[in-house]
């Protein structure tokens, strides 16, 4: 894949150079989208990682990293975009993660002649690469894209290999707790970002009985017997603390609570599967198995 695609990338670059030589520079630039709306935290991160942030004109609610992105106008929640709101920033390209919408809005945007590129959302290392590839193609940045893909996939393989080695033959069981509304635990089953990152970090999701995020009974949690509890860091005293997992009836019976194994991590880093996925894997693996090993 790498050989043929870098070959074609080379050809493209050569072609572009030839065109530049022949045509006035503006003509080439005019074809490239220069007013981009980025929908999805990972998508925005990739645009920044490719050094193309100058072309961004707006972002969605989840695009908070890097911090500079927050200064861009916010077009709202990805699944409830307003057609006029998006058009008001006069975009020529919309880069949106899979599932953005609603479809009525997308239809109007396409009618207005705005190019719409859907970025796939798959919770795995290959998914991260596919995202970068899609964004790089849409931005016409094959070289920078290839460089970023090489870098990220190297980092990911290294992080995953290290995580597997650390885990050894006895991977730990991790319970991802999304929320603890009124003492009831909502945890991640299979097919979620949390499930993906836990697997990549060389651990096992303690819940495999259902898909998505669901509320669990106290007994089901005890039966799942997680060694580690993973939660999103909401800052301050919010969310779970070591004290609270030992006092919540739902959790106090688990090995995790008895050993005080609670990990809190930045939710955006953990679940977005963007260019920082490798460091998420590394951080999570270290937190689960300890850095010393």
């Amino acid at each position: 894949m790498t050989l043929s695609s870098s070959f074609s990338a080379g050809l493209k670059a050569a072609g572009a150079l030839a065109l530049c030589a022949l045509l006035p520079v503006q003509a080439v630039q005019a074809e490239e989208p220069s007013r981009i709306v980025s929908i999805g935290g990972a998508v925005t991160e990739i645009v920044y990682a490719l050094g193309q942030e100058d072309r961004l004109v707006a972002r969605d609610t989840t695009s908070n990293f890097p911090a500079k992105a927050a200064a861009l106008p916010n077009v709202g929640y990805a699944r409830a975009l307003s057609p006029e709101g998006v058009l008001s920033v006069d975009p020529d390209l919309i880069l949106a993660s899979e599932g953005s919408g609603p479809p009525e809005t997308l239809a109007v945007l396409k009618q207005a002649g705005v190019t719409y590129v859907e970025v796939p959302e798959i919770y795995s290392a290959a998914g991260v690469i596919a995202k970068i590839q899609t964004v790089a193609d849409a931005l016409d940045q094959s070289e920078a894209g290839q460089a970023l893909i090489t870098q990220v996939s190297d980092e990911l393989s290294a992080a995953q290999a290290l995580a597997q080695k650390t885990a050894g033959d006895s991977p730990k069981r991790v319970l991802f707790v999304l929320s603890t509304q009124a003492g009831r635990i909502t945890a991640s089953g299979t097919g979620t970002g949390a499930d993906g990152i836990i697997t990549m970090a060389g651990a096992v999701n303690a819940i495999s009985e259902f898909e998505g995020y669901k509320q669990l009974t106290d007994e089901a949690i005890a039966a799942a017997a997680p060694d580690v509890i993973l939660a999103m860091d909401r800052g301050g005293d919010h969310g779970l603390t070591k004290d609270s997992i030992q006092s919540l009836p739902a959790l106090m019976l688990t090995p995790a609570a008895q050993n005080g194994e609670l990990i809190r991590m930045d939710g955006a880093l953990l679940l977005q599967f963007g260019p920082r996925a490798a460091s998420a894997v590394k951080d999570l693996s270290q937190a689960i198995y300890g850095a010393a090993q």
Partner: protein, 364 residues
Amino acid sequence: MSALTTDINDADPSDGSAPLVDRRIRARQLTVLLLLLLLVTSILSLTTGASSASLWNALTDLAAGRDLSTMDRVVLLDIRLPRLCMGILVGASLAVSGAVMQGLFRNPLADPGIVGVSAGAGLAAICAIVLGSLLPSAIQQFLGTALVPIAAFLGGWGSTILLYRVSTRGGQTSVATMLLAGIALGALAGAASGVLVYYSDDSQLRDLTFWGMGSLAGATWTKVLAALPIIGLALAAAPFLARGLNGMALGEAAAGHIGIAVQRVKNTAILSVAGATGAAVAVSGGIGFIGIVVPHLLRLATGPDHHSLLPNAALLGASLLLGADMIARVVVAPAELPIGIITAILGAPVFLWILLNRRGNLGL
């Protein structure tokens, strides 16, 4: 309640406010004012928005025989104009339905939801959002984005028919049975929705939440054209209900004695409300409050005569919803707030203030 009798035999209104003739003139003046208000809000609604599209540029372009710019064409013709039409249809149908229901049930708290439309439509919409992917893909392809609106309309209509059948014995519909059965059906629909919410995934859950808060953002010509005949028919039926509803204020038996076909009034009222509200909920989701606040405001202003109340409610409901929609789309631009939030934030305090100032003068 007694004030509703005014139109029947031209007796003086018993609440002793303005003489009857005065009230009629005032109601007519109000109709003219509300027409002007609707005109103004419509023009504002076409000129307000997050984008730089301009109605005046478009009009001067048209006058000069030039083609519209893409931005003006798409924003004005494909976004703001269908949105304006949908706002008028939905606002008018919610307000008129509310007025009709309050008259029919002789209960100031009645809103269109009372005949089970909202519960049924909500349940069907949730089914469509959560279980839509289980349908054969050919049907999914065919229906596309129309799946949720169609399901909501059929669900709303179906639950009203069910309630109506439950509460009709020997050709006589018991309003009290319908009210109580509506509560039971609402609870059942709520429980069924709960089960589906439990099985929905994250993104479906977000869709459900947004659906419940209502929005005109998804307005398309298809939706407007689909809702227009149903809402139009229901609104056209409303004037014929006015005399009957005025009579019903005396109680069903008395209304029958003064020559009102009580059962026919009930049939027409229930079916037209189910149609209008079902269609409104289907295209715009759950928008609360309009059906309660608009009729009450108008009763306070010009009294409870349904001859003027129903058309005025249509006009004020439409203007109010257009106003709320304008706020919804500019206040967090380029993002957008769900309109149900705006109608409640604006409507509730105003309504409370008026109630506190004009207590005991509700006319119901």
